[in-house]
């Protein structure tokens, strides 16, 4: 399948999802669907670097928050439409990803992983001490109730996130099947061998880190409008970092389908568990499922399927 065909099919699926959501019309479903889609974008973005190249990013929350706080920083200065804010958030997070990658990607993968952990705390400290965006108190943001032609503002945000998810998944699939994806897979399997056979490893890793960071920022950009309020604790929530890792790991990291399956499955379970049990318990579930999958099913749900249908590819 060529990518324009894929994009068309993805858009059709998205349209169907939007139509179904519209049919039920309950505002809560839009919020829940928005959160799940946000995780689809986050998981897909994480997988571009983590799954394809094998470099673990523990700082997804930092990139997400960078997008959210870009919105806040611009909001108090000039009023911009959401698509523009998404692009701006993507640029800021992409630049952060590029810088962090440039500093640490020349080292072994674990140093990059540790650096991303540190990056999350550095950014959070900067935000806490930056009064313009509310500091540790957080910032309020007023949004309209209605959006022309669409209905409630939540529906508009939901549509934006749906579109973003389609774009993110399409880009991930495009990368996976291009020279970039093959180069990244070579890095994942044996970086020294890849380097020796002429793969420009540093450049490819930098591209992957930048694209991955940019999409995480884009996922975060509409976040302040969704809640109407942002503080460092909610934007830098560890749940984003854990989910961004857990979802692709559970779905399967080597293809674009894995993170989508993982995000929809785990995201929906969490939405249900938050409502029916408690938010602490649902995070516990995510952690346990993550541990269980990495030990018992290292190739995720996609890997299990491949095993059952007997066409398991050698990794």
């Amino acid at each position: 399948m060529r990518w324009p065909t894929f994009l068309a099919i993805a858009l059709a699926v998205a349209l169907a999802v939007a139509a179904v959501a519209r049919f039920y019309g309950n505002e809560y479903y839009f919020i829940a669907a928005y959160v799940v889609l946000q995780y689809v974008v986050l998981a897909t973005a994480w997988n571009i670097l983590g799954g394809y190249a094998g470099y673990v990013n523990f700082g997804s929350a930092a990139f997400f928050a960078a997008g959210a706080y870009t919105t806040i920083a611009f909001h108090s200065v000039v009023s911009l439409p959401i698509p523009v804010l998404i692009v701006l958030g993507g640029i800021v997070s992409g630049v952060i990803g590029f810088i962090a990658g440039y500093l640490t990607l020349r080292l072994r993968g674990v140093f990059f992983a540790i650096a991303t952990l540190a990056l999350a705390v550095v950014l959070q400290t900067l935000i806490i001490n930056w009064d313009h965006v509310g500091g540790s108190r957080g910032a309020y943001l007023l949004r309209a109730h209605e959006f022309p032609y669409i209905g409630s503002y939540m529906q508009y945000l939901f549509l934006m996130m749906l579109l973003l998810a389609v774009v993110a998944v399409s880009v991930a699939r495009l990368i996976e099947r291009s020279w970039l994806g093959f180069g990244l897979a070579a890095i994942r399997d044996d970086e020294a061998a890849a380097e020796a056979s002429g793969v420009p490893t540093l450049r490819l890793k930098l591209i992957a880190t930048t694209v991955s960071g940019a999409f995480m920022g884009m996922a975060g950009a509409p976040f302040p409008y969704m809640l109407g309020y942002v503080d460092p604790a909610s934007a830098f929530n560890l749940a984003y970092a854990v989910n961004a890792i857990a979802m692709p790991m559970i779905g399967g990291t080597t293809t674009w389908v894995g993170p989508v399956i993982g995000a929809i499955l785990l995201g929906t379970i969490q939405q249900v568990a938050t409502v029916t049990i408690s938010s602490a318990v649902n995070l516990l579930i995510v952690g346990l499922v993550l541990i269980g999958f990495v030990i018992l099913a290292p190739n995720g749900i996609v890997g299990l399927f491949q095993q059952w249908f007997g066409k398991r590819r050698a990794r």
Binding site: G50, G54, V56, F58, A100, L103, T104, L107, G109, V110, F111, A113, I114, A115, L117, A118, L119, V121, V122, Q124, T125, L126, I128, N129, S136, L238, V242, I245, A246, M249, T253, A280, V281, L283, L284, V286, G287, L288, L290, I291, V294, I295, P298
Partner: protein, 321 residues
């Protein structure tokens, strides 16, 4: 002394509560920068650095020597802190005594974790991606588990040495900081002797360099690694008790320590325990200065910024191999 006990009750937590008293003491003089403040900032930094030795030494063994990126180490430390808290509040046991009693338990926990890690990841050569995710999941599960059991309130312990402090001239040595520092350095000394003098210790140092050679000498490298990882986790029991003596603990406190302990381990040079002590002291003094002269809320950024710089420009560390 009563004042200090009171200030302990109502203080918000920060990694350097020691300077708070100092700042208040100097406030009357109306000076932004003073000699006393400088001396006390250095002392607080050294004491803090000593404590950082205790939290980092486990990572120096696991990450530096065994090459196991145990990011769940901090949650073992927090677990140790909560065990000390629980036994202290309910049975009045001394937190340090509790931590020593807990050493075998944590050692066994460590060997069990290593066994799972070895069978699931190391043997299959998947430690890079999935091993990291495993420890990350472990960290997260421990944190959420502690939240479910103890809630998110700050907990602290009571012991005779938590309140008072030792004054020599203008210098202020709170026992709350002094005792952890001394104990951490004792622990470092014992481990350093163990690693350099005993047969098992030297086997641990050897396994990091050449596991195959060890095998040829009829030593099982997996057994040696299991012992070493057990020891690494056992240090978390002590570090946890020291942590809750120094400042109140809530389950998410561990996150602030992840970057810090890796910064110290990398900065000092992976695989070198004396390097860890140097790295810990440097970071302790830097954080103390930042907290004293710029405000405590900036302290984490400094240490993590330092980690990023260390990774970017000298990843082999000060005493690196």
């Amino acid at each position: 002394m009563d004042e200090e006990a009171e200030s302990l009750e109502n203080k918000g937590w920060g990694p350097q509560p020691a300077e708070r008293g100092t700042c208040a003491g100097n406030a009357g003089e109306g000076m932004i920068f003073s000699y006393d403040l400088l001396i006390n900032a250095i002392i607080a930094g050294v004491l803090l650095g000593g404590f950082y030795v205790a939290v980092t030494i486990g990572i120096s063994i696991a990450f530096g020597i065994l090459d196991i990126v145990n990011i769940a180490h901090v949650s073992f430390i927090i677990l140790g802190a909560y065990i000390a808290y629980f036994l202290n509040v309910n049975y009045g046991l001394d937190p340090i005594l509790v931590s020593i009693l807990m050493l075998p338990v944590f050692y066994l926990l460590g060997t069990a974790v290593y066994q799972i890690y070895y069978l699931s990841f190391e043997r299959r050569g998947q430690e890079a991606l999935r091993g990291l995710a495993f420890f990350f999941g472990l960290m997260f599960v421990t944190e959420v588990g502690l939240i479910l059991v103890f809630g998110v309130d700050y907990r602290y312990v009571q012991a005779a040495y938590v309140g008072p402090s030792l004054r020599i001239g203008v210098a202020d040595f709170p026992f709350r900081m002094l005792i952890p520092c001394v104990l951490a350095l004792v622990m470092f000394g014992i481990l350093q002797l163990f690693l350099s003098k005993t047969y098992t210790g030297r086997a641990i140092m050897a396994v990091s360099q050449d596991a195959l050679a060890l095998k040829l000498m009829a030593v099982d490298p997996i057994r040696i690694k299991r012992i070493a990882f057990g020891i690494s986790v056992a240090t978390a029991a002590i570090a946890g008790a020291l942590l809750i003596i120094i400042h109140p603990v809530e389950p998410a406190v561990g996150r602030e320590y992840i970057g810090r302990i890796f910064a110290i381990a990398v900065l000092g040079g992976l695989g070198s325990l004396p390097g860890t002590v140097i790295g810990a002291m440097l970071l302790g003094i830097m954080e103390s200065f930042t907290a004293t002269f710029y405000g405590p809320s900036w302290a984490p950024a400094v240490s993590f910024g330092f980690l990023l710089l260390a990774l970017a420009f000298r990843p082999q560390g000060i005493l690196g191999r």
